[in-house]
Symmetry: C2
Subunit: 269 residues, 2 copies
């Protein structure tokens, strides 16, 4: 199945293609204009602390929806969806280690599981294209996001603590200000960047040593810009040795029914 077939598809059509394994791969440029979401699933006894952790760290973890305990359907983001089957892949982490990667949670879901959806920068793909300032991953299949553990610490909540993971975008100098202005209007998609310029200022000493994704080239005339990244959840699960946390496979986001143009505000504090 070609990406172009799903670029302008509805969120529901994309979820169905993923559920039926007709679409395999990352969700960039799919269902343009709909919010895509990071998925985090924790046991109920960790749910309040994780929800506060999201509230305390709105840049990496802007809350889009929270499921009722034991219910895999996001009540407002996609009431007809099933988070056990509608994501391309899942990573299961226990006690600070990745223990399994699975393509479905049908045999892993429990009644005490609580699923959270948090915003993702892929939600802005359509806006970036329409604004004619596309990020590298939109214009080149060779451009991959490079993510790094930064030296910035998240604001802890209960057992949740760890480093902020940042996503690097090499940006042409003349696009730096427009991109700050544009992304700042979308706090539900990580908002404005957390750092511009020298990577060492946020503890990223070697751009070739990525922690997730692949290194990407910084061309002459480009400035490194760093945005908060949802992979922060994985870094926190590892750093804090959380007993159990399940996340989507990197780049395999959950596509919601929420329209980006209708939801451009975010948790305020």
């Amino acid at each position: 199945m070609e990406r172009s077939e799903l670029e302008f598809a509805t969120s529901e059509a994309v979820r169905l293609a993923i559920r039926e394994k007709r679409w395999r791969g990352v969700t960039k440029r799919l269902a343009l204009g709909y919010h895509q979401a990071n998925v985090t699933i924790v046991p109920k006894d960790l749910a309040f602390d994780f929800m506060r952790f999201c509230f305390n760290n709105p840049k990496p973890l802007p809350l889009l929806d929270i499921c009722e305990p034991g219910n895999p359907s996001p009540p407002r983001a996609a009431p007809n969806a099933d988070l056990r089957t509608d994501v391309g892949g899942y990573v299961i982490l226990r006690n600070g280690e990745v223990v399994e990667t699975v393509s479905s949670l049908e045999n892993h879901w429990r009644d005490d599981h609580v699923a959270f959806l948090t915003g993702c920068n892929l939600s802005l793909d359509r806006i970036m294209l329409e604004s004619r300032i596309p990020l590298p991953h939109l214009i080149s299949d060779k451009a991959f996001p490079a993510q790094f553990r930064s030296s910035i610490s998240c604001v802890p909540a209960g057992p949740f603590h760890g480093p902020l993971v940042v996503s690097l975008r090499p940006v042409a100098e003349e696009l730096v200000v427009p991109l700050v202005e544009l992304t700042s209007r979308f706090p539900l998609s990580h908002g404005g960047p957390v750092h511009i310029g020298d990577p060492r200022k946020i503890g990223v000493d070697d751009l070739q040593q990525v922690h997730w994704g692949r290194p990407n080239e910084i061309l002459p005339g480009q400035i490194p810009m760093f945005w908060a990244c949802g992979i922060t959840v994985q870094a926190v699960a590892l750093a804090a040795k959380i007993p159990e946390i399940i996340v989507h496979a990197p780049g395999n986001m959950f596509v919601t029914d929420l329209l980006v143009r209708e939801l451009s505000t975010a948790p305020a504090v």
Copy 2:
């Protein structure tokens, strides 16, 4: 102590005056420009459901801050404050009944108590005055808010369910549109109105039969406008017979260090 002495005081000065009982009474027009907050305290085993209830109902319950379990200081809204002493009065509800009204929680606070702060319309007093479209309570000491249980249901979460409580403001016809525009910009203070015009459309059949506050007069040329109200928590505690929930005494809000002009956005969904 005169209200005028505290109108332009800092949030900390107002909290101290309340803690030392130098100020008794409602907090309208105090520490103009700072966010004032509804206080809700629940046992930890209800905290996740209550936080989801706030997330599900952002108009009556826009989240400003959440305390660590057992800690009475709001980490970001007022880290130096103590919610056991810095509010003028508290109402304790158990199993759907008001059991006690106290002036301090020093003898009631437990390690399993979790305190939440949600936004309040009094946060807009300064903006209303500066915009020269003050609401009645700002220009007349005789004007009291009138609050009603509406026929609108809150979006439930766990055991939390019940009616949306609305606050009535009689507004001169020519100010209806400006007030919708202005209040809509401040979702952390209940945002835009939930209803304009005929009170019966939202189940308010008799404006003299108020459920909280006092009836207020609707003069010729005035339109009744209704905003979501934080007293919704009390109505929900009563309707859902929540085992234990502690709230501030009506009008006796908690004054935070958060500046309204710095926080005008809110939870998006």
